[in-house]
Amino acid sequence: MPAMNLFFYLAAGVAVISTLAAITRLNAVHSLLYMVTSLLSVALIFYVLGAVYIAALQAIVYAGAIMVLFVFVIMMLNQGPQAADTERLWLSPRTWVGPSILAGILLAEMVVLLHGEPAWLPGDRVVGAKEVSVALFGPYILVIELVSLLLLAGLIGAYHLGRREPDVHGPEGR
């Protein structure tokens, strides 16, 4: 159905434009806004492709959790007396109107998709959470173990790097 293809191409255009904006903005917060839009548009593309479970995960983990980490770090590194002025600058409409327009396109697409006829259901074949989970805990059980080890290693690594050391080089030098 051509209408479904239109959803894909519109979201693809939003993804490319917002990614391009994300890597060219000079202010880190501005490019984060565009980056969230880009990740959300990829989530919509996943939905159109029939990967509904992955679409939800993309929105929650990528556009949610990972971007929140970026926001935390950027805000942490921006402390200082001029922080309030910077905040005021970031709240100006020029900052958020671009990402808002792009995100509005995605929202409109999502509303139309969710209220569409059943024939508009995504993908030529929906591969939902059940099939993914059956495969994940069947033939791919080793992947789960590897990924959990990876997450543990990431946790320990981030803790080790992030802790504040008393004095790296000590009084007696290296």
Binding site: M1, M4, N5, F7, F8, A12, A15, V16, T19, L20, A22, I23, A28, S31, L32, M35, S38, V42, I45, F46, V48, L49, G50, A51, Y53, I54, L57, Q58, V61, Y62, I66, L69, F70, F72, V73, I74, L77, A119, G123, D124, R125, V127, V132, V134, A135, L136, Y140, V143, L146, V147, L150, L151, A153, G154, L155, G157, A158, Y159, L161, G162
Partner: protein, 104 residues
């Protein structure tokens, strides 16, 4: 039913990957470097999901889950490194750390 050509999905993934790579090469701020890596990982995951949906199999989505987890672990370690970097050099310019060993 929607049948998006495989080539178009892969083309989009390649475009996003190229944009992320360009950002990685061009930008010198370490936050942008990390964000570009995220874009590239996401584009690789998109390619997996596109290919998986072409055959109607869940394997592509499982590979996306692996990439998602790897991106989460990578960004946690990367941002811890950024904080460390900022504490040591008082800047976010990656070129500030172009020596393996501190100058005496």
């Amino acid at each position: 039913m929607a049948v998006i050509p495989l080539e178009h999905g892969l083309l989009l993934a390649a475009t996003l990957f190229a944009l992320g790579f360009a950002g990685l090469i061009v930008r010198r701020n370490i936050m942008y470097v990390l964000m570009s890596v995220e874009i590239m990982l996401n584009a690789a995951g998109l390619a997996f999901v596109v290919a998986g949906s072409r055959w109607g199999q869940p394997d592509g989505q499982i590979m996306f889950l692996v990439i998602l987890t790897m991106a989460a672990a990578e960004v946690a370690v990367g941002l811890a490194l950024v904080l460390r970097f900022h504490r040591q050099y008082q800047t976010l310019d990656v070129d500030a750390a172009d020596r393996l060993r501190e100058q005496a």
